[in-house]
């Protein structure tokens, strides 16, 4: 990117798909350094902050955007369209944050079907009961000015890399401002890691955690509200389901520093193929019982195993990675 710097400012786009907006906040949250960065780049799309329209992007030449930070998972035809459009227009497309990287919190709806989700929202919740007729979700509506169209929902939630090729990944829910500055600086200086890299550390979170680890012998599991954790002692040792052993480091264990167990938002390390399965392996080793019934009792203390180990990564569940590639969803 160095050569463009001397002629014109590099063009940057930020876009959000199925996400909460936290990833946008983290960019603003950078604080003063953003002024420095903003003076070096030209924003061409940033729906949350600046008023650019999609047709501005459509009018651009292919590969004319230098960097696109794409946050959010893909659930609708509109999101897929924008992912493909921005892929075509961008030199570097970045999966920004857990939703684009792993599927994220929106990905949890893969536990359910599209129909069940729509029924809950439009028909079954107490506040809409009795209005089922009126609330029938429709994709088209005729109004005086013409016909209005809504994007179609897919049956499943997809990661960005399921839809288009991704050049880099900045993990985290949301990525830490520190990492964002580091990444943007690396882009501006043309000092990027190898293509395809995930912008975190190679080691797992336990290696950067400040708490002391001892032999794991768990007799019962606790949820964070049930017990005040002892200071300076590994949370998993104490029976809190901390995802540290299977999660990429880079966040400086900020949740653990606030006495909350890691939830795994940075995704698995390079060695792990399936974050959830690796975590089942880890807690299986840590339970202190050899009796089948007692083991079952201990495990019953985990309220929602699949939802816990895949809080951020359900769409990256490895078995469906290939097999489930989505017979039912006809992508454009």
């Amino acid at each position: 990117m160095k050569e463009t710097e001397s002629q014109a400012k590099p063009k940057v786009a930020l876009y959000w798909a199925a996400s909460c907006g936290g990833c946008e906040c983290t960019v603003v949250d950078i604080g003063e350094p953003i002024l420095d960065i903003a003076s070096k780049v030209e924003f061409v799309l940033w729906p949350v902050a600046l008023d650019f329209k999609y047709h501005h992007i459509e009018a651009m030449e292919d590969k004319s955007i230098d960097l696109c930070l794409f946050n959010g998972a893909i659930r609708s035809t509109e999101q897929e369209h924008m992912a493909k459009l921005l892929r075509a227009k961008s030199k570097i497309l970045v999966a920004f944050g857990s939703c684009a990287h792993l599927g994220g919190i929106p990905g949890l709806s893969n536990f359910s079907t599209k129909e069940a989700t729509l029924n809950t929202v439009y028909k079954e919740v107490d506040t809409v009961k009795g209005e089922a007729e009126k609330k029938e979700p429709k994709l088209k509506k005729k109004v005086a000015e013409g016909e209005l169209n809504l994007p179609k929902l897919y049956n499943r939630v997809y990661r960005l890399k399921d839809i288009v090729e991704v050049d880099y990944t900045v993990p985290g829910c949301p990525p830490t401002s520190k990492d964002v500055v580091k990444f943007l600086t690396a882009v501006l200086e043309g000092n990027l890691p190898p293509h395809g890299s995930i912008f975190g550390l190679k080691k797992n979170l336990c290696e950067e955690c400040h708490l002391e680890r001892k032999e794991k012998a768990i007799k019962t599991f606790y949820r964070p509200y049930e017990k005040r954790p002892l200071p300076d002692e590994c949370l998993l040792d104490q029976g809190f389901l901390c995802m540290g052993p299977v999660t990429r480091a880079g966040c400086e264990a900020m949740c653990v520093k606030a006495n909350m167990p890691c939830r795994g938002c940075y995704g698995p390390t390079d060695e792990i193929k399936d974050q959830g399965a690796a975590y089942i392996s880890a807690i299986g080793s840590a339970i202190d019982s050899n009796d089948e019934n007692e083991i079952k009792e201990i495990i019953a203390k985990i309220p929602d195993i699949a939802g816990t180990v895949y809080r951020f990564g359900l769409p990256s569940f490895s078995v469906l990675d290939k097999a489930g590639k989505q017979e039912e969803d006809n992508h454009e």
Binding site: K273, A277, I280, S285, I305, F317
Partner: protein, 145 residues
């Protein structure tokens, strides 16, 4: 489901179950050709990731065979497998995969007959379940509605 021949990836521990399989062969006992054996040093080596990887790559069932509890060459490798299996079964069900497709059992070096029996039973079970498909439980649920 006549004519369906499932693939069953079978992990055998080096010290007991692989010997057991050997013994079964020496005794000319019949075991199904659906079994694809993989020797590991200990059933404790079999991570849930291996099970998922097998299912992902075309297995219809996974069988894990280890030493009887208390007999592990590494003292408690098989207990770790037992704990993982209990969590894995619940996890698979939540993931809409029939947990019946993954079975853990104990076969010692002397139990050639048990090896033949377990592999036969497992093959029958998976034949009944049919080919592995993602979302199998959810699809069933939807169909019944």
């Amino acid at each position: 489901m006549s004519g369906f021949e499932p693939k069953i990836v079978t992990f055998l521990c080096n010290w007991c179950s692989y010997e057991g399989a050997d013994k079964s062969g020496n005794a000319h006992l019949e075991s199904p050709a659906n079994i694809l054996p993989i020797k590991v040093m200990c059933s404790g080596r079999v991570e849930p990731q291996f099970v998922l990887e097998a299912l992902k790559n075309g297995a219809d069932g996974v069988l894990i065979l280890g030493c009887h509890p208390g007999d592990c060459h590494y003292k408690e490798g098989n207990y770790k497998t037992l704990r993982r299996q209990i969590i894995l079964e619940q996890f698979l069900e939540e993931m809409s995969i029939n947990p019946q497709r993954v079975r853990l059992d104990w076969v010692s070096a002397g139990e050639g007959e048990k090896y033949a029996e377990v592999t036969k039973e497992m093959t029958e079970r998976v034949k009944e379940l049919g080919p592995f498909k993602a979302y199998e439980l959810k699809q069933k649920e939807n169909a019944s509605v």
